[in-house]
């Protein structure tokens, strides 16, 4: 068991706190090209995800685990389709709590 390299739950606004570190987020896919996917974060900011082999086909919601490259870009290591129905508001609140009051349970 190891907890030395967690991936923090982030929304668009929290991404900038973790530049260079491992993060996880869920985006609503708005477009994709070869090697990158563009989407809307759970707090309505645009996020660009780069990296090889995103799943195909993509569902509406996509979870990305990877390294935060900038305040709006992630280099993906793992992609997971989260389906076409997902409560983004709940996820957004989870991101805030997991980096706030309950941070010690997560990172």
């Amino acid at each position: 068991m190891d907890t030395s390299s967690p991936s923090a739950f982030v929304n668009g606004a929290l991404l900038r706190r973790f530049i260079g570190q491992k993060v996880r987020t869920v985006i609503q896919v708005t477009g994709s090209e070869i090697g990158s996917v563009v989407g809307k974060s759970t707090d309505d900011l645009q996020i660009v995800v780069r990296g090889s082999s995103p799943p195909s086909p993509l569902t509406t919601y996509l979870e990305v685990i990877g390294i935060a490259e900038s305040d709006n870009a992630i280099r993906a290591e793992t992609w997971t389709n989260f389906g076409n129905t997902f409560d983004t508001q709940n996820y957004n609140e989870l991101c805030k709590l997991a980096n706030g009051e309950f941070k010690h349970l997560f990172i």
């Binding site: 030395s4 919601y61 996820y91 989870l94 349970l105 990172i107």
Partner: protein
């Protein structure tokens, strides 16, 4: 005789390899009821699991509660099928842990066949420690199909942590006056032992007790059974009038209680209801 209480110990003691058997039987001599109380089912993050304190090979505790069965939701990041077991690693974003699922019966093998590398799963198991290394002996693995379950799991981890540290912690002082086993939070509360805090602090005769602050007084008021069953909650004006506390103070207390997760607003931001169970 059939139809009686299900006794997990009796059922499991019948056969098979149950490493915790010896310890549970040792406890049983004192009181089987007590034994049942400590059989917890705790949703935990792996960060919490790694920080759980231990006194021996399989005795762990966190937030003052003994850990028996744990619930973890995470992604399978490594997997290896062996003849009698499946070894895998689960990563929930807060950390990773080695897991083993022994497969003897066909049902167990079939359950594991549905689980693939990269999948999100919800698993139930026992935390083990061997040569200082923690791992989970898993007895149920289910693929996550609705991904809201992940959010729900972590929300529940936070709730249970708060329940066991703050709410339950608050009632310990009362227990010293009238000692009785305190039911730790479990995701399967039985109707006979609801997991709300001690009922003795919920009645109006304590309203003017100077020991309680405004917050406690307001919470006691909202914890009255008649208010717990009301769907709409209670308007802050009514609380202020009934308790003869200035509205401003009541509002401040309500806000704090709401932030603490003890109450929530119902129809609008003026009506409140306790989060305690009806």
């Amino acid at each position: 005789m059939y139809g009686g209480d299900f006794d997990g110990n009796a059922a499991f003691a019948g056969g098979g390899f149950m490493p915790s058997q010896a310890t549970t039987q040792a406890h049983e001599s004192s009181s089987s009821l007590k034994n049942r109380d400590v059989r917890t089912l705790l949703p935990l993050t792996l960060k919490q699991l790694s920080s759980a304190s231990t006194t021996g090979e399989s005795n762990f505790s966190i937030d003052g509660v003994d850990i028996k069965t744990v619930v973890i939701v995470g992604r399978i990041s490594r997997m290896e099928n062996r003849i009698t077991q499946v070894d895998f690693v689960v990563d929930d974003g807060t950390g990773w842990v080695d897991c083993v699922r022994w497969c003897h019966a066909r049902q167990e093998t079939e359950e594991m066949e549905a689980v693939k590398l990269g999948m999100y799963v919800r698993l139930h198991g026992h935390l083990k420690i061997f040569q200082g290394k923690r791992s989970v002996n898993v007895f149920s693995v289910r693929p996550v199909t609705d991904f809201n379950e992940i959010v729900h799991h972590f929300t529940e981890c936070m709730y249970v942590h708060m329940y066991n540290t703050k709410l339950r912690g608050g009632s310990i002082t009362q227990d010293t006056a009238t000692p009785r086993p305190q039911m730790p939070y479990s995701t399967m509360p039985t109707p006979a032992k609801p997991y709300q805090t001690g009922p003795s602090n919920q009645f109006p005769n304590q309203f003017n007790d100077s020991m309680h602050g405004v917050k406690q007084t307001v919470l006691n008021y909202l914890n009255q059974p008649m208010h717990i069953v009301s769907e709409a909650g209670v308007h802050c004006d009514i609380i202020a009038r009934e308790l003869r506390i200035p509205l401003l103070q009541v509002k401040e207390a309500l806000e704090q209680l709401s932030n603490d997760g003890c109450i929530y607003s119902t129809l609008d931001e003026t009506c409140f209801k306790s989060t305690a169970n009806a």
